[in-house]
Symmetry: C2
Subunit: 105 residues, 2 copies
DNA sequence: ACGCTATATGAGCATTCACTCATATAGTCA
DNA sequence: TGACTATATGAGTGAATGCTCATATAGCGT
């Protein structure tokens, strides 16, 4: 079945729309990391991390390649960070507005 | 319970990460729309649409105000479109790369 | 071959999500 | 007031998600 444009956009956003996946992407930033390094750093269970990484790769957020036993990852495109940074700015502004509204009341 | 930074970012992305909600936001773009106009235009059941709109408002993607019987909506911030447009560009590029890879093989 | 390390995946579980139908609420107008 | 319109919400359902434990696979070094 053919995917609609909205479905394509939703897919990449859905891949990013999870706290642990955001932590993974931000931890990797410009460096190259392997699964084995991420698990202890982010305190994620190995199989859980592996599944999150798979989701990110399948959505095109990360690219991965094998290096012996390890699988390395890097962020596929700088624009991923633009999305995250914009989301951060919006979230921050939204929370601040809410606090303002509370203080006025 | 205190929300982590990653959770805040994930929330706004999760609000956007659904095909129907993307369609809603893109239909509204810069215009002001009411629930009653969106339902037939997007072919969404009224209660379903109402719930999607609630999610978008709660995440700060849309702002709403009452006007008589109607509830009107507009997109809260231009940067929402930056996120959507970037996601679109990334999705497009990713699909194209996949097709290339298939043709090489 | 063996053991060891890194990663992937099957199965099961609890939770959340998207949807629909029916009903409730709120505002308008005669 | 009552009829009508617009929106919200309770309840139920099936599907998807995130997690964990256990097991499988794959590549290394001895």
């Amino acid at each position: 079945m053919q995917k609609t444009p909205a479905e394509f956009k939703a897919e990449i956003l859905a891949a990013l729309a999870h706290p642990n996946r955001i932590r993974i992407v931000e931890y990797i930033r410009k460096d190259i990391r392997c699964n084995c390094e991420l698990a202890p750093a982010l305190e994620l269970e190995q199989s859980n991390l592996s599944r999150h990484l798979k989701i990110l790769v399948q959505a095109g957020v990360l690219v991965s390649w094998k290096d012996g036993l390890r699988v390395n990852f890097k962020v596929a495109d700088e624009r991923i960070f633009k999305i995250l940074d914009t989301a951060t700015a919006l979230a921050k502004q939204f929370v601040e507005k809410k606090i303002e509204a509370l203080q006025e009341a």
